[in-house]
Symmetry: C2
Subunit: 319 residues, 2 copies
């Protein structure tokens, strides 16, 4: 059973009496009266990060992954807590120094503060990060409107290319390899867009599990379908280069997850304000599809105008 | 290095700019302006619970252990988040049913709500619980006053007897064994005392690591010592029976931790109101010692009036 299926099936009964919890159907918990937004995520070695040779990089990835849950909802993260399970091998003096230095950099970059946590002995390395922000409102899932345009920030696929390079399944020249590794460990969060999202987004989610998986989560309880155009899905110049030189398919990279870009839907007439916001902030925002009615089936159209079978929906953290 | 030493040494630098975090010197995080209180704890199989044969009991123990951090500070817990790492062996349908039922019971008992969490695949079972409450004020550590009396709620040592019975290191008759096992898995939290603590406590902590360890944490930055009287440390009738029949020493049981009783200090003139509160709530509160100046060394006096060497300060979750 996949992670959110477990949560949904068993734990959703427990939160029924509590209106704030969104019945565990969103990535964040929101208490409107307290203006409190909370996200809790666990990251396990071998599942969410492939090794711990570079603790300074792993720690950046997991902190960004955690605060991304808040950012994509229009909420600036303020506090975070880290609970780490591991042994001396993972928490040696030199590794702890690197972790601390990294956390300091992330704190400065995103205006967040470490507020506590726990460290326990375990032969299996894992981290749980609790991120907290304060907001009067959030942008929900399950709130897309028929006819909404689908947008995504930044580029997709770089992180997956980085993973494949780290796994030594793709080889290219050092400079390009480094570019993708950095994108895998230090995904670009569209942090400056956070508060602006309220100006146009009807619904939003961050892309952690993969474009299709997260899009389906976004609309999961709604009687809606989607139309996505592969040609409009933004990729970096470097990924274009890599795909071309290795004869790889774009589709195999853009829906694999770990991008931590914001996927949102907005009414068509918001197009101008979205473009303006993107320009003024220097953030790339691309229109990649449309929300349709369920009379049509969801469709993914390739660059030649042909339908792509939606089978590989992303990954559920078990690569 | 022990858990709180790791946190202290490396992570305390990161929270320096943030007044609310108490420099990670307390068990909870408190943001006065937001009235927010947060506690994060991780529980690992083989360290914090000995097996997962009875998931319905383990889950009660770890939820109580987590909310106990708030309760001892005068804060009623409201929300909790569970992040579980494990595999199908641990999260089978029947185990999940038991866990859900248990959580429901705890929710009703303590007025708390499950608000989210995460479940991830791992061959090592662990849980991280984030507990959240709201309060204008909390009772801090490092705030004991010279001459304060030292108090503890409930009984100590039952949980440790339960652990030894579960580990098959102590054998007695079934009824008594069951009593201690229940105390190990379902410690009595002095929940009804929570808000009353503000009427008398100068400083407080819950006993999780052990009476002496937690008392030393309570006064850790203060130039103070303590005097404890073994004869005044409250134990249950059942523990008295067990100690007598097995010729075991009280001292070996009362400072081992996992009691989740509240240890607090109060001015001597608060004695009457403490007694009155205890009576009206039906909660046992015992005066067990005194806060002294550092001119004297900390002392633990046995039942014959002799000094006990303070060597076994409790345990650091590595039994």
């Amino acid at each position: 059973m996949h992670e959110f299926q477990i949560i949904k099936k068993y734990f959703s009964k427990l939160s029924k009496n509590n209106k704030s919890s969104l019945n565990l159907n969103d990535d964040v918990f929101f208490d409107k009266s307290k203006r409190l937004v909370v996200s809790v995520d666990t990251y396990v070695l071998g599942i969410h990060f492939i090794d711990f040779k570079n603790p300074e990089l792993v720690i950046k990835k997991i902190v960004r992954s955690s605060i991304s849950d808040l950012i994509c909802k229009g909420v600036e993260p303020k506090y975070y807590f880290i609970s780490g399970s591991g042994n001396n091998q993972y928490f040696s003096k030199s590794k702890l120094d690197k972790i601390t230095k990294s956390l300091k950099e992330e704190q400065k970059k995103y205006g967040i503060f470490l507020c506590g946590g726990d460290t326990v002995l375990s032969n299996k390395l894992s981290f749980t990060i609790t991120s907290i922000g304060f907001s009067k409102k959030i942008i929900f899932r399950n709130n897309a409107r028929l006819g909404d345009d689908i947008y995504v920030t930044g580029n997709l696929g770089d992180s997956y290319a980085g993973l494949k390079i780290l796994q030594k399944k793709i080889h290219t020249h050092k400079k390009l390899e480094n570019y993708f590794k950095i994108k895998y460990y230090q995904p670009d969060l569209s942090f400056r867009l956070t508060k602006k999202l309220f100006n146009f987004a009807n619904s939003s989610i961050d892309i952690s599990d993969g474009l299709i998986t997260d899009l389906e989560k976004l609309i999961n309880k709604q009687k809606l379908s989607y139309l996505l155009n592969l040609k409009d899905i933004p990729i970096s110049k470097n990924l274009k280069k890599l795909l071309l030189s290795k004869k790889l398919n774009k589709i195999d990279f853009v829906s694999k997850g770990d991008d931590y870009q914001i996927l949102f839907t907005a009414n068509t007439f918001k197009h101008r304000i979205i473009d303006k916001t993107a320009k003024s902030l220097g953030i790339k925002i691309s229109k990649i599809g449309k929300i349709c009615s369920t009379i049509e089936k969801s469709q993914f159209i390739d660059e030649k105008g042909k339908k792509i079978a939606i089978k590989d929906k992303g990954y559920y953290h078990n690569f």
